[in-house]
């Protein structure tokens, strides 16, 4: 009996030993005014809200009748009050912002009172996925707040929030959200499995999770969709997908996902289906244009002069006449310049960034044409291609697209148009082999599923969306039962 006591003391000491080095570690003792019980409060001053101690905890503990540790549940007006006898929890609880209460008479029991200081940024507008119409709230860094935003949009009991704590150092809480009655059980298990398998010390953002649980981490394509829009998350949860909320990250992850989803903006659902379909097609065209146009320029000018219409020939030849660089170097030079501008713009404060963009775009562009380093035709092409790459609604995908241009350039230089098709085959194969949570990434294009096309390259009206996507293999594939079709009416009836 005595031995055990000593052992516990040693343990007790151990956590205290390292914590006591920190300036914000506080341990204070008080006497209850009525019963004269001596109790101590231990906490990390920087993590807790002092107001809760001053107004909520101390007055009650000092002035009310407080005899044993069980009493605090009645005395303290805080929801999260726990009592336990496991000393190994102490360290974690303290570092999570709890106040530990010890009573001299009951050394084996510890009371924990939640008193976290919540520093929450106010809701702001979505910046990456801004939309003109539709809701204007975006996620913030606090998980509680984010969950609140999602729950408000899906107030049903079937929305399950499972919590994990990952990261040996960061102890990040991560929540997995799904609809119990819809989402495929296999998918849920896979995500759960992958999350528990994560081995990393400090997870500071959801992008870590993206890279850690992706099917193929060597792919330039993001295989989890991240969004900062609560409405989008609510929408996809209703479709039967899974959302992952990471504490400290304003981006929520969505899985499984498909390639076409990266090119659909959530704003598409706020517009009439004709308009949104048109915009989606424009975006897809922009992507193809952005990837292919510079390589095609290089291929045609280096190898296939026959292809160029005779009226365009003079323009191209005169614009290239003074340029010492072969088309490929010319293209690389301009592409890298654009990347430089983008990178510089992204690192600088908004106002300076804008200036740099304009200065870089106009001054460097014109100057390099005048200096005879690049042709003005290519300048137009590269600028348009860069512009087109920014039309992708998902920022990560835009980055991927800009990167893809370079292998295409390489093959265009190597084998001209043939090389471009060759590289396209490589890309296609890569996409075909790619999976998101084990589901084909290219769906519904391949494997071809006509019924899933309703919300892919185009978006059909909501009446046509009565079924959930097949590839999610949902438990309940019907979204709403279609009303029995009304009898067709003749004109003026």
């Amino acid at each position: 009996m005595k031995n055990k006591r000593i052992k516990e003391d040693v343990q007790h000491k151990e956590w205290e030993k390292s914590l006591i080095k920190s300036k914000d570690f506080k341990k204070i003792f008080y006497y209850n005014q009525k019963t004269n019980v001596r109790f101590g409060l231990t906490f990390m001053a920087t993590l807790i809200d002092e107001n809760i101690i001053q107004d909520g905890i101390l007055p009650n503990l000092l002035e009310e009748e407080f005899r044993e540790i069980e009493d605090i549940k009645q005395l303290v007006p805080v929801a999260d009050v726990q009592i336990c006898d496991d000393p190994s929890l102490i360290e974690q609880k303290l570092l999570n912002g709890y106040v530990m209460l010890t009573v001299e008479t009951e050394l084996k029991h510890f009371g924990f009172i939640a008193a976290q200081k919540e520093i929450v940024r106010g809701l702001s507008q979505p910046e990456v996925e801004f939309s003109v119409i539709g809701p204007k709230e975006a996620f913030v860094e606090s998980m509680g707040q984010n969950l609140n935003l999602i729950r408000k949009r899906l107030p049903v009991k079937e929305l399950i929030v499972e919590e994990f704590t990952l990261g040996s150092l960061s102890k990040t809480s991560i929540a997995m959200l799904y609809m119990e009655n819809i989402t495929n059980e296999d998918n849920i298990n896979t995500v759960r499995q992958r999350l528990t398998n994560v081995k990393f010390d400090a997870i500071t953002d959801s992008s870590y999770i993206v890279q850690l649980i992706s099917d193929n981490s060597n792919s330039p394509f993001p295989q989890l969709l991240d969004t900062e829009r609560p409405d989008r998350v609510a929408g996809i949860l209703a479709e039967g997908k899974i959302a992952i909320v990471v504490d400290g990250s304003p981006h929520v992850l969505i899985t499984p996902t498909t390639l076409v989803e990266f090119f659909s903006s959530f704003e598409d659902y706020f517009l009439n289906w004709l308009l949104s379909s048109f915009f989606r097609l424009v975006r897809l065209f922009a992507v193809a244009f952005s990837i292919l146009v510079t390589p095609i320029y290089v291929a045609t000018l280096s190898y296939h002069y026959e292809l160029i219409p005779k009226d365009l020939l003079s323009t191209l030849i005169t614009s290239r006449r003074e340029i010492p660089l072969p088309p490929i170097l010319e293209a690389l030079f301009l592409e890298l310049t654009i990347e430089l501008l983008r990178e510089a713009g992204a690192r600088l404060p908004t106002k300076v960034g804008q200036t740099i963009g304009i200065v870089g775009g106009i001054v460097i562009g014109t100057a390099s044409v005048e200096a005879g380093l690049t042709s003005n035709v290519l300048l137009i092409i590269v600028a348009l291609a860069a512009l087109a790459s920014f039309t992708t609604p998902v920022y990560r995908m835009g980055n991927t697209i800009r990167l893809l241009r370079f292998p295409f350039l390489f093959f265009a230089e190597l084998w001209g148009l043939l090389g471009i098709v060759f590289c396209f085959c490589l890309l296609l194969t890569h996409l075909m082999r790619l999976t998101s949570l084990g589901r084909p990434f290219l769906e519904p294009i391949y494997p071809p599923r006509v019924t899933d096309m309703k919300d892919a390259i185009i978006r059909l009206p909501f009446e046509k969306q009565s079924k959930r996507p097949i590839f999610l293999r949902t438990k309940n594939p019907i979204r709403f039962s279609k009303k029995k079709a009304e009898e067709k009416k003749d004109i003026d009836e």
């Binding site: 045609t300 000018l301 280096s302 190898y303 002069y305 026959e306 160029i308 005779k310 020939l313 003079s314 323009t315 191209l316 030849i317 005169t318 290239r320 006449r321 340029i323 072969p326 088309p327 390489f410 190597l414 084998w415 001209g416």
Partner: protein, 352 residues
């Protein structure tokens, strides 16, 4: 990653192919052939290049060379050119009168064999030497563009029947049909005009039609065509008729070919007082008569020359199994013709 880099490097080093960077090559845009004066060489070729100025105006450059084969000519030209010569941009090929009379088969074969030469190249004959024709200064957009557009719009809206390298080769190889080519003439140093149609037997030019017959020729040769013709009426008034749509229909019976031509046209110009209904009727009648007469004359002329640019032989073959072209050649000499024409004037412009 290492493997990938290695793969790319290896490909780049060993898989590379010869480049033809657009501003480092000399693109042949047109070529003219004459017979060489020296009988040792067969052809004298004049190759036309374009040089673009910074203000986008075009300087025409021509290089001439002699040789037995088309490739010899190119070799000769390459010797004079500052950059490698490529043939993929060729738009026009002109044959001088002596070449077209001696036979153009070798050159056509060479064009067909060369993968870089397109099918829409316009082939034409010239009235004078092809070298002279090439060496003019026509228009501001370069000689080749000038000649190309000249022929193209005349095919589309005027009296040259459909033609290009493919049609030439098609007709040449088609039994029971002989090829024809438009004929150009250099009028002055800055002007070229269409001079007529060269008629070929096999690959040799045997005759040419003047411009005034081209309207009728086109009606006979092209299944659908557009064209212009002036009709003279009894009192000396003139009416310019533009045929909007025309359609011909050839029926071959045993030893007789009957050709039906239907024209839908409009009157563009009239020199008389009033374009009354009866005048329109008269215009129609006169035009019909004129077309029937002229077409018959042309057909007779072809028969005498022993050529068949319309493809009557092919028409006949398509109606008859086990057709014998040898026998046809004899039959053609005694073939009877009749031409029926039906003109319909649909509009007369915005005044009466």
């Amino acid at each position: 990653m290492k493997k990938l880099t290695l793969f790319c490097l290896v490909l780049l080093l060993s898989g590379c192919v010869e480049k033809e960077i657009i501003d480092d090559i000399n693109i042949e845009v047109g070529v003219g052939y004459d017979l060489a004066e020296d009988s040792k060489d067969k052809y004298r070729g004049t190759v036309l290049f374009q040089e673009f100025q910074p203000d986008k105006s075009v300087i025409n450059r021509t290089f001439s060379g002699s040789g037995k084969l088309r490739q010899d000519l190119l070799l000769e030209v390459t010797k004079q050119s500052s950059e490698p010569v490529v043939t993929g941009g060729m738009k026009i090929a002109v044959f001088g009168p002596d070449v077209s009379r001696a036979g153009i088969y070798d050159l056509i074969d060479s064009f067909q064999r060369d993968a870089s030469i397109g099918a829409r190249v316009f082939v034409a004959t010239s009235e004078g030497k092809a070298e002279d024709l090439m060496k003019g200064e026509y228009g501001t957009r370069g000689n080749s563009t000038y000649i190309y557009n000249l022929i193209q719009h005349n095919i589309a809206h005027r009296d040259i029947p459909k033609t290009n390298l493919h049609i030439l080769a098609h007709d040449y190889y088609q039994k029971g049909k002989d090829p024809f080519l438009p004929q150009l003439k250099k009028v002055s140093n800055d002007k070229i005009e269409i001079f007529g149609i060269s008629l070929f037997k096999d690959d040799k030019e045997v005759d040419s039609l003047p411009v005034k017959d081209m309207f009728f020729f086109k009606l006979l040769v092209d299944k659908y065509s557009e064209g212009n013709f002036d009709v003279k009426l009894k009192k000396g008034e003139l009416a310019a008729v533009k045929s909007i749509r025309s359609k011909h229909d050839i029926k071959m019976s045993d030893n007789h070919a009957s050709i039906n031509i239907k024209i839908e046209g409009i009157i563009r110009e009239y020199t008389g007082d009033e374009l009354a209904t009866d005048v329109i009727g008269a215009v129609q009648k006169n035009l019909e008569k004129k077309i029937e007469k002229e077409c018959l004359r042309l057909l007779k002329q072809f028969q005498e020359l022993g050529i068949d640019p319309i493809g009557l032989g092919q028409m006949k073959k398509s109606k008859q199994r086990d057709f014998d072209y040898k026998k046809w050649e004899d039959e053609y000499k005694t073939l009877g013709f009749d031409v029926k024409c039906n003109v319909e004037i649909e509009e007369t412009g915005i005044i009466e």
